[in-house]
Structures are given as structure tokens and as C-alpha cells.
């Protein structure tokens, strides 16, 4: 049985201009110890899918799914209180912009300790020693001195490490990383991805990486879901996807990579409009 199983998930937002369907029936499943990448452009609904599963969407969103199970527990029928016991403990999430998602008013040590206190009921002293342990495990060397530091005093890469420490504080069984390296330099990106992969291996977590960067997918994923405008285009093992993409959209996306450029011009997704419409995909705001 898979760790996370979602079937036919749809999300609709009420907007001033009428209902907007952000997700139109997608399926995901992740096993323990597996790395799933969800790839898509902005507006493809990749973040919305994970937020709906965590119950973090605003009230204007209507979430429907045939199945939404984590480790056999039905996430839909849970009360908010029950769900909160799972979320943050067994399922945790790393957000895109580390600088913006840490609270600027509290020290790093406090923010990591918060999760430990809430979910595991540790005492202040236990919290402190566990926080130091966590900071060490995410590669922050002078952990004792770092506890009292505020987010603005650290670099983006350091903040992201703190976010990761917070997310793995309660040894989650499923970790969701939403664009974990988009705001970072390539050298820091490499360090953060290596860190995520080694933690994933150590804790045997299920890991979902949400990204628009094909390079990140190539470096991390076991299995990949490609998404466009709220619809799942293709699901494949990572090697199959790069070697032999089945769907026209995946082909278009891969050919837009600058390293795959043949000749002077980069093909864009719009250049594949004909193949895509044959595959039943209508491009949004099509423009050359």
C-alpha cells in the first residue's frame, strides 16, 4: 500500500469572475522511501494539489477527491483537529521562499522548537538539545550560536536549511518540498538537493518535490508527474521520461531546455501547438 494515495483530485476556486478550476482530476501516489517530482509551469496547479492535501487552501476553494489517504487514514473525513495532528508531524512541507516563510519576529531556535513542543511535547531543555541536533544534521556547524539568530541575519541558503530542519523536526514520513531551490544559486542548490536526498535516504521518507526546473527533476526524482493547466499530462519513471517522453507536452518542455538546443533557435512550447492540440491540450494565452 502506498504512503500517500490521491485519486481524482479537483480543486475549484470561487472568484469574482466565476468559478475557476485549478485542478481537474489528478492522481498521485507516493510510496515510503520514494521521490516523486511534480513538474509544471506556473498555473499548472502543482502547489495547489499539495496545499489542498494539507488543508491549507483558503475558504474559497472547494476540494473534491475520490480517495485521499495518507498511510491508510482518510484525510477527507478527519476533523480539523485530527488533521493537525498528522500535518506538521507525519507530513511536513518546505516552502518556496525561505526568507519569506520564516517568521522574522522569532529566533531560529524558537521556530524549530515550536514544532517539537506542539507535536512531541518535549520540555524546554529537550527541545534545545534536539534543535541543536537538527541544525547539525542540516549542515549548520555552529548550531549552539545559531539558536538565537533571526532569519534576516542569515543567507538564503542558511534559511532554507533552517526550513528543512523545521520540516524534519518530528521525523515526518512524507516531506513535500515546494520549489525548494528556486530562489538559490546553483552551488547552494546543489548543497540543498544533496541534503534533501541524504535525509530522505536516512529517514526513508516519501519525498514530493514540486518544481518547474527539469534539472532538479533529473537530479532527484524516481518518478515524475508532468502537469499542465490542472491536468496530468504524463506520469513516468524519471529515466523513461527523459529518454522517451510519451506526451507531446513533455516533449515540448524538454526541447525548450537550453542545453538541448539544436541550431540557433530554442523551440518553445507554442511551437508544438499542433501536436498538442492533437493530444487534446489547448494552450492558454497562446502567443509566439
Amino acid at each position: 500500500m502506498s504512503l500517500l494515495e490521491i485519486r481524482n483530485l479537483s480543486v475549484e476556486f470561487d472568484t469574482a469572475a466565476g468559478p475557476f478550476k485549478a485542478l481537474k482530476g489528478v492522481d498521485y501516489s507516493v510510496d515510503a522511501g520514494e521521490v516523486l517530482a511534480i513538474v509544471g509551469e506556473s498555473g499548472s496547479g502543482k502547489s495547489v494539489a499539495m496545499l489542498s492535501m494539507m488543508g491549507l487552501l483558503p475558504d474559497t476553494a472547494t476540494v473534491t477527491a475520490d480517495v485521499m489517504k495518507f498511510d491508510g487514514l482518510d484525510l477527507q473525513s478527519m476533523t480539523k483537529k485530527q488533521r493537525r495532528q498528522v500535518i506538521g508531524k507525519d507530513i511536513s512541507m518546505i516552502f518556496q521562499e525561505p526568507m519569506a516563510s520564516l517568521n522574522p519576529c522569532f529566533s531560529v531556535g524558537f521556530q524549530i522548537g515550536e514544532a517539537l513542543k506542539t507535536h512531541l511535547g518535549l520540555s524546554a531543555k529537550q527541545c534545545r538539545s534536539r534543535t541543536i541536533e537538527l541544525l547539525h544534521s542540516v549542515g549548520i556547524t555552529d548550531a549552539e550560536d545559531r539558536l538565537a539568530v533571526f532569519p534576516h541575519q542569515m543567507s538564503g541558503g542558511q534559511c532554507q536549511r533552517v526550513m528543512i530542519a523545521m520540516a524534519i523536526a518530528c521525523k515526518p514520513r512524507l516531506l513535500i518540498a515546494d520549489e525548494p531551490t528556486t530562489a538559490l544559486d546553483v552551488t547552494i542548490q546543489k548543497q540543498i538537493l544533496d541534503l534533501l536526498m541524504s535525509l530522505q535516504n536516512e529517514y526513508e521518507m516519501g519525498l514530493i518535490i514540486i518544481t518547474h526546473d527539469m534539472g532538479v527533476v533529473a537530479e532527484t526524482a524516481d518518478r515524475v508527474v508532468v502537469q499542465y493547466a490542472g491536468v496530468q499530462m504524463e506520469e513516468a519513471l524519471v529515466l523513461d521520461l527523459f529518454e522517451n517522453p510519451k506526451h507531446a507536452y513533455t516533449k515540448a518542455l524538454l526541447s525548450a531546455l537550453p542545453e538541448n538546443a539544436k541550431g540557433d533557435r530554442l523551440p518553445t512550447v507554442a511551437d508544438f501547438a499542433k501536436e498538442l492540440s492533437e493530444a487534446g491540450v489547448i494552450l492558454e494565452g497562446a502567443q509566439s
Binding site: 527533476v217 531546455l257 530554442l266 507554442a270
Partner: protein, 279 residues
């Protein structure tokens, strides 16, 4: 190409930032640029690569005459420029323009696209209203936007379209040199491809010289003629693209290449197999 005179010459440029120095604390100085030297050849694309904090954006500010260097000489078409003594005149301003990284932050939300495009003309030329309008419409078409976009506000556009507007604005004065500060790093992959194609077309049409600042090596490899790698305010590697990519000399350049994700099938196969063996 090597026979041409350099369009820009940078000699021993340094830039020092003084921070702190309040009532009780001593001021600290930070050397953001430690002696930068290079010539820029007309019509080429020079890529500047480096991590955040290495001084690429400081250099861009100096080259575009937004900021004055602490020391050193900046020559544009053989003419020495020192903006700390004399503000650059309209003629000089028209030669160099810049496109910023974040298309969401670099456009005034209360200015219509038409006004965005006409502002450089109002400031730097004596052109009449009709003429400005005509040029703005022509430029919208050149960057792949439509005439009806003239009266719209920036928030009505997607990221890629906004970057087209920013590029259009930078071209209104018909510059010779365009400094592109991470122009595609905030964009999706397929939009990135469109903007890169647009930049290539515009370079041909307007005979532009580009300084392309980026930390994405796959983009640099695609677009650059020459590559300059910066590390802590210094140039650590400088050469033709193929030389730098095929045979990097400096340790930092090697680190940079090693850190770039590899998306070719062989690398993925190797990684997947290593992972399967470990479990």
C-alpha cells in the same frame, strides 16, 4: 570580430561600500569589486556568471552609469565617463540601457504600458507626442506584443509579457549596449525560451551588444560568445565560451559546473542505478 574597436573598456574598476558607522559603531568597508578589467567588443554577447554577492549586479550598475566606481576608468566608445563629476548627458544615456531581473518589480504599477515606453523619450529627447506614440507602437510590435496593450497596466500581463515590456522600454532609445541582469531567471521554462529567442532576434535587428548576467549555466552556454566568471569581486576566469566550458581553469568555475544539474539521459541513468544499488 576581433578587429573591431571595443565599444566599452573597463580599467581597474573598484567599488567599495561603507556600511554601519553609527554613533557607537565603527564603519566597515566592503570591496564589492576588486579591480575589474575587460574590453567589450561590438556585437558580442558577454555573459557574466557568479553567485549572489560576487559583485555582478554592482558591476552592472557601474556599466549602466547608475552608480559611480570608487576608482578606475570606464570608457564608452573611447570616451572616458565619470558620473561622479558630471551627470551623463542624453546622448550617453541613450547608448546603454538595462533590463532588470524581476519583471514584477521593475515596472511601475500605476503607469500604463504606453507611458512606460515613452518615458525614456520624454526625458532624453525633444520628440513630439505623435512621434513618441508611433515609436512606442512600433516597439510593441517588435517585442511581440499587440497594439491594444498600449493602454493597459502592468498587472494585466503575465511574467513573460512583462519582461517583453521591460525589454521594449530598454530599446526605445535605440541603445548600442544592453545590460541584461538575470532577465529570464524569474520565468518558466517555455517562457524563458521565448524571451531568449526574442533577445536573439532583437540583437540581429538592432545590432546590439549584450552583457548577460546570469547564474544559470545552461542559458549562458546557449546565448553567450564570451564568458566571464566572477567570484568575490574579482574576475577568476574570462574567455571564449567553448574554452571556458570545455576547459575551466579556476577551482570556482569547476565547482560551478559540478553543481549544475545534469539532465542528459546518461547522467540520470547513472544516478538511478547508484540509487538502486544503495537500497
Amino acid at each position: 570580430m576581433t578587429q573591431k574597436a571595443p565599444i566599452m573598456r573597463v580599467k581597474d574598476v573598484t567599488r567599495e561600500y561603507i556600511t554601519g558607522g553609527g554613533l557607537f559603531s565603527k564603519s566597515k568597508s566592503l570591496m564589492a569589486l576588486k579591480g575589474i578589467n575587460f574590453d567589450l567588443i561590438e556585437g558580442e554577447t558577454l555573459a557574466i556568471v557568479g553567485e549572489s554577492g560576487c559583485g555582478k549586479s554592482t558591476l552592472a550598475r557601474i556599466l549602466t552609469m547608475i552608480d559611480a566606481p570608487t576608482d578606475g576608468v570606464l570608457e564608452i566608445e573611447g570616451r572616458q565617463v565619470d558620473i561622479s563629476k558630471k551627470r551623463p548627458d542624453a546622448d550617453l544615456r541613450s547608448k546603454i540601457q538595462i533590463v532588470f531581473q524581476n519583471p514584477y518589480g521593475s515596472l511601475n504599477p500605476r503607469q500604463k504600458v504606453g507611458d512606460v515606453l515613452e518615458e525614456p523619450l520624454i526625458i532624453n529627447t525633444n520628440m513630439g507626442t505623435d512621434e513618441r506614440r508611433r515609436l512606442a507602437f512600433a516597439m510593441l510590435e517588435k517585442v511581440g506584443l499587440k497594439p491594444e496593450h498600449y493602454g493597459r497596466y502592468p498587472h494585466m500581463f503575465s511574467g513573460g509579457q512583462r519582461q517583453r515590456i521591460a525589454i521594449a522600454r530598454s530599446l526605445m532609445l535605440r541603445p548600442k549596449l544592453l545590460v541584461l541582469d538575470e532577465p529570464v531567471s524569474a520565468l518558466d521554462l517555455s517562457v524563458q525560451a521565448q524571451i531568449l529567442n526574442l533577445l536573439a532576434d532583437l540583437q540581429d535587428e538592432f545590432k546590439l551588444t549584450y552583457i548577460f548576467i546570469s547564474h544559470d549555466l545552461s542559458v549562458v552556454r546557449y546565448i553567450a560568445d564570451r564568458v566571464m566568471v566572477m567570484y568575490f569581486g574579482e574576475i577568476v576566469e574570462f574567455g571564449a565560451k567553448d574554452d571556458v566550458f570545455d576547459n575551466p581553469q579556476h577551482d570556482y568555475t569547476k565547482t560551478l559546473f559540478a553543481a549544475t544539474p545534469k539532465s542528459d539521459v546518461e547522467s540520470i541513468r547513472a544516478r538511478v542505478e547508484a540509487r538502486a544499488a544503495a537500497n
